[in-house]
Symmetry: C2
């Protein structure tokens, strides 16, 4: 049987147990030219919150009654005359929060689970890693000597951003919540400094860690931290708008998104703020994965996944994205052994 | 005698009569290598409000007791062995709100008052015109067919932005306050459409005039209009942050600057928001003035100055920048005939 997580109600504010329903249905049969994939792992990402709003965005909203959208990785267990994939192939794509999926293979990528753990292919070598890679290189346009700040620094995207900035010769400051994450990014990932937004005043901490200001701020969180970063921009600084996790659970009825009051710092400093969506870089994923794979082999790029088990525990695990109670890429194991 | 407007008190919110003091002092003598300029006209610009705040910005604040900073134009009436300028030369620079100024000539530019009126050299052929020119071309990066929105569209900068966008083959919508200004930009300047923010709901009007969204928004005003424009961005749109006149008279004690709540539209639309300061383009002013002069001769670029008289009337005239009670570039004639 195929356990599937269905979007039942559109959340107002935080999603909760009532947002989804777990259904058990027949495992579907692949038609001619299709494959059946058994999911091993599901990727949990802050962007999921946005996909549940009934609003025009960079991707259509998940509809009520549909399987919740998610990145995923699994193995082909049945191929019905598929031109490219065969049983046993390991594929990653947008399989959704369910245990089995049938597809014609479009927009799925084959990976080699002997070179890296499957969880890494939906983390550092998957969408979050790609987001960090293209975001900091193509949008942030970092160069040697830049002072780079990243929020959500211990997370799936932020940890890649900071490590790549270090590889490129930048000074890197990470913002994370709690001592454990701050220690992790400095001691394990090699960031130059960490700011614990849960225990420090962010403005004071930025003054201390970036006395000369910032060339690049990679924003995963929005809110007060974005404003604090704006206040410390150097001339021609770049802000990469990748996400705004602090604002995702606001909603127009209750509480509007907080816009950055300090945005006129862009004018004073001739700085820019640019948004990005990883889907735009699809044609270069291969090159990026190759380069990041090389850095991983060389020990310059580390990956950490925080793995929870059981599709039944999806809601509980999802909450960790927003409480921050996790370390590294949040992954749910959905295969039952 | 030299009448000089001195910054007496830093304003909280709107500047008023109490902000400045008019002093009458001796006309200064040019020393060896210096010139004495008699001002004919002073430029009044919204940026003046920012220069009065005691805060780090792109230019140092005017200090209490100093002559108020302003762009100006006048003629050399005495030259003391100046290597470049002689009596009768017409120069424009940052002479301040006073009737006479002594300078060594650095950062002053000679212009020919036979080719254009002196007021135009501090308007369309001066800083506001340059701001529009470099802002829309270099930061806005307009190309043929773009849908371009500009606020403050009847003003010194906005009117140049819109006309240049028309010259480059864009569809241009201007936002201005009142029927007179809206008629002016459409009928005299050739904009495709106008939105009167004083009598229309800005969101509804944008839906009507830009049903396909916006490629470029040139922002002179900030506030609600910036948010409305963000809500209508197309993919890869560019927002030029040139000013925020709606927010200049806010102050931290009373009312914070309103940040753009819709800034996550930058993410969804892979759009950018970039600040600019005209001083950065100084080396290319000459080329820009030449091109704009050509457009003026061809009748493609029109210039309108709204001239008031008397340095005594500075405060009253300055208020018009913020009430909007003016049409075109606001100029104060300070020479007494």
């Amino acid at each position: 049987m195929n356990k599937q997580l269905i979007l039942k109600n559109r959340p107002m504010g935080m999603a909760d147990a009532d947002t989804w329903a777990l259904e058990t249905n027949e495992v579907p049969e692949p038609k001619e030219g299709e494959i059946l994939i058994q999911h091993h792992y599901i990727s949990l990402d802050p962007a999921m919150r946005g996909w549940m709003n009934d609003r025009k965005s960079y991707i259509p909203p998940v509809q009520i009654g549909e399987v919740m959208r998610a990145g995923s990785i699994g193995k082909v267990i049945k191929a019905n005359n598929h031109p490219q994939y065969k049983e046993g192939d390991c594929l990653t794509g947008w399989g959704g929060v369910q245990q089995y999926v049938v597809t014609n293979g479009d927009n799925w990528y084959q990976v080699d689970p002997n070179l890296a753990p499957m969880t890494t292919y939906i983390g550092t070598l998957g969408m979050p890693g790609m987001t960090g890679y293209f975001g900091i290189l193509r949008v942030g346009k970092i160069k040697e000597g830049d002072i780079v700040l990243v929020s959500g620094a211990a997370g799936a995207v932020g940890s890649v951003v900071g490590q790549i900035a270090k590889i490129k010769g930048c000074r890197v400051i990470g913002i994370a919540g709690g001592k454990k994450k701050c220690d992790y990014i400095v001691e394990e990932l090699g960031f130059d400094a960490a700011i614990d937004y849960k225990s420090e005043d962010i403005n004071d901490a930025l003054k201390r860690e970036c006395p000369k200001g910032l060339d690049v701020y990679f924003d995963n969180v929005g809110g007060e931290i974005l404003d604090a970063a704006l206040a410390r921009l150097r001339l021609n600084a770049r802000i990469v708008i990748c996400g705004a996790i602090s604002q995702y659970n606001n909603n127009k009825e209750k509480e509007a998104v907080k816009g950055p009051s300090n945005y006129l710092s862009l004018l004073v400093n001739r700085a820019s703020m640019q948004g990005m969506v990883i889907l735009d870089y699809a044609k270069d994923y291969g090159k990026a994965a190759q380069e990041m794979g090389m850095w991983m082999v060389q020990g310059k790029l580390k990956s950490k996944e925080d793995v929870y088990e059981g599709i039944e525990n999806f809601n509980e695990t999802y909450q960790r994205l927003f409480t921050g109670d996790k370390l590294g890429k949040l992954v749910l194991k959905v295969i039952e052994e």
